[in-house]
Symmetry: D3
Subunit: 160 residues, 6 copies
């Protein structure tokens, strides 16, 4: 069994999607940013009236998601229809959870775009808070679900 981006000689390749039919694709991804007590409190309270940190992170995630084929070498360029990102505070874990959802009518799926969205939104939270806490931990990041395309759907199993 071989990774799809590796040809029979072990060389990297871009998968040829020209024979695939266009269909509606959707993918959702998850990410988590864990902060120190102090940084978590500062962000959550500072985020009160203006919400700037999370707005900036959201915009960063959306813009990076549109750029996925430019930053992941073997990804196909896609005309994305929608990208959404939302955040949830988890006080007990001192964590911000990040959820993305990406839609597109295309010949290939949008998992990479969904993952790029959560990862760059998280990296932007790090950037804005790094003066408070240099030990911020980014991740885990993973695919939650995808639909559309011949390979059918995928939904990540809970318990982890």
């Amino acid at each position: 069994m071989k990774p799809s981006h590796i040809d029979e000689k072990g060389r990297a390749r871009m998968v040829d999607v020209s024979a695939k039919a266009e269909s509606e694709r959707e993918a959702k991804a998850y990410g988590k940013v864990t902060l120190s007590r102090e940084a978590y409190a500062a962000i959550k309270s500072g985020d009160g009236p203006k919400g700037d940190i999370l707005t900036v992170a959201k915009i960063a995630g959306i813009m990076a998601s549109k750029k996925t084929s430019e930053i992941v070498p073997l990804c196909h360029p896609l005309a994305i229809s929608a990208i959404d990102i939302r955040f949830e505070y988890r006080d007990r874990q001192r964590a911000i959870e990040v959820f993305s959802s990406v839609r597109c009518r295309a010949r290939t799926g949008v998992e990479m775009e969904a993952l790029a969205a959560v990862m760059l939104a998280s990296l932007t939270i790090y950037d804005m808070c790094k003066a408070l806490d240099k030990s911020i931990q980014l991740g885990p990041f993973y695919l939650l679900e995808k639909s559309g395309g011949k390979s059918g759907g995928f939904r990540r199993q809970k318990a982890k």
Copy 2:
């Protein structure tokens, strides 16, 4: 106490580094990609003679690191002197660990560039292996150490 990218009114801002002196900066970051047993085995063996997956991942990480100021909204553009990325296989954890090191003579640090390097290298591993395993987990990612600049050094404490 406030995140540095938030002004006194709670609005996002780009930190003004014009008064800082240039100095040699270095930052190192860490990341981890955890795979299914099957995917881990396929990659590790497929990686034998040609090493393509990790070479592609390394190139992706280097190119993304150079683009950090373009994908993280409030980062400063920097003329990076060196970016290095290396990988280690961890059989027991079925994981690939990713280590980056970035150097620059600049008015601001290169943590973001080091983190972008490990995150995009990891995302590229995901891309190349996603046909084998859709549950690949990316992360955690964090800063290992940094040096240079007035704020002095930082070294992450062990024991996670």
Copy 3:
């Protein structure tokens, strides 16, 4: 009534166009660059044999228009079919008028691409003439008309 890029909680979002049908879209935009007497004369005459300033401005406008979804955060990436930009000298006003027209088969309109074209063409004129005149005024810029899509056409009323 709410701006379309703001959700019910007041947060920015990318409008989901996945349910819209593809149709032929066209948009035209207008812009104006007003110069000092001296700069206007220099450009108009220097522009005689070679036309370089306006050619450079046109190329800049076309390239920026193709990049619209990269520079306007919530715009959708589109596979533009055609971008045209033309200029007219207005001696009495010492102004160069800029007209763009953009066409695309897409699920969303191309107003933003038409506006990006006139604005970046104008900014490039500024760049090339700024040594002559630092008081160059850019604008107004506005949409002239658009067609295609469910919301129907739009044509700006005269009288400015």
Copy 4:
């Protein structure tokens, strides 16, 4: 007298700044977005608790400013030290005024970066409000002042 970006044969060129000394540069630019009564009211009120429209516009302006040398053909790439953008509501004119300030230690000035910041912030306001008002007018945009460099300072005269 010739525009600086035109050589003696009338051909466009990139000005050679290699003989100039590095110095601290600063530039400030101005822009204005005029809306219909309805759109102005919607934005100003919607902007109450969350401020998302102006935050998105600010981020867009900052990111475009960092990209100036990529979108204006003959601009030099610069390692910008700081970019700031702020907005003011003008009820009587139903307008949002946009002010940018850019700083850099460089061999050439940062006017173009300051103008790119106000223009793309304004274009992003247009994008977010275009469903409410297709007649939004962008501009005028102009340089307010600059300092640094051999040519000395510039300050735009009032009386608009």
Copy 5:
């Protein structure tokens, strides 16, 4: 007879493809990199176990091909389906030959994408070997064949 990108007044333009039907397009291009005896030997042997130079060159060619509409001013943005690049060593000529193949369902052809792929892959070989040999010669580069679209196919004649 006029180049297609020049209008009746001699001005550059982006060809309007909105009236063309979408069809499957393919294009193949060729390139060649000629090295000194010493550099050729070093690369060919160094390329033994890991193949890094050609993998990096391949990735560079694929990524540049996806960026064609961003670096060639009047090219249309396209959602490429597949890009492949392969290399052949020519010992007698001390040359590496580069072959690209690009596929897309689009309103316009993909010759430019195929040429960008071989040219940037070659430039990347130059970059990695320039410390060994500053006289590396890049080229010739040309289109081998194309198919799809109304103008029908093209196949370059041999004899050279």
Copy 6:
């Protein structure tokens, strides 16, 4: 002897330039575009009054040169001081020769920027003339000379 971008294990790397001193760097490169009799005549005459093809090609070359570190994976980002490109018609060879010159104060040379300039200017000529002649040949491209830096100068020997 090893290519500089390959480490002792045969893996690609970005050369660390942090220990090098900044100095004035210059590089000049050469390229050639050979056309059919018909296409050459059309371009040369069409180029009479307006010069658009070569202006567009020049702008493309300058913009690509500024993007070199983005399209060549292991190149360092540099704050280029000047890029110049000029063209010469060679009637007997039905060829357009392309000459670039790039200057920068940096820790590493600008050969890659000079080569990117001639290659992308040439590719743009191809794009604008491809409707007239699909057999246009691009190349050879090579470095003419470089100066600055510890390794000293280089000047290509004549006699091709």
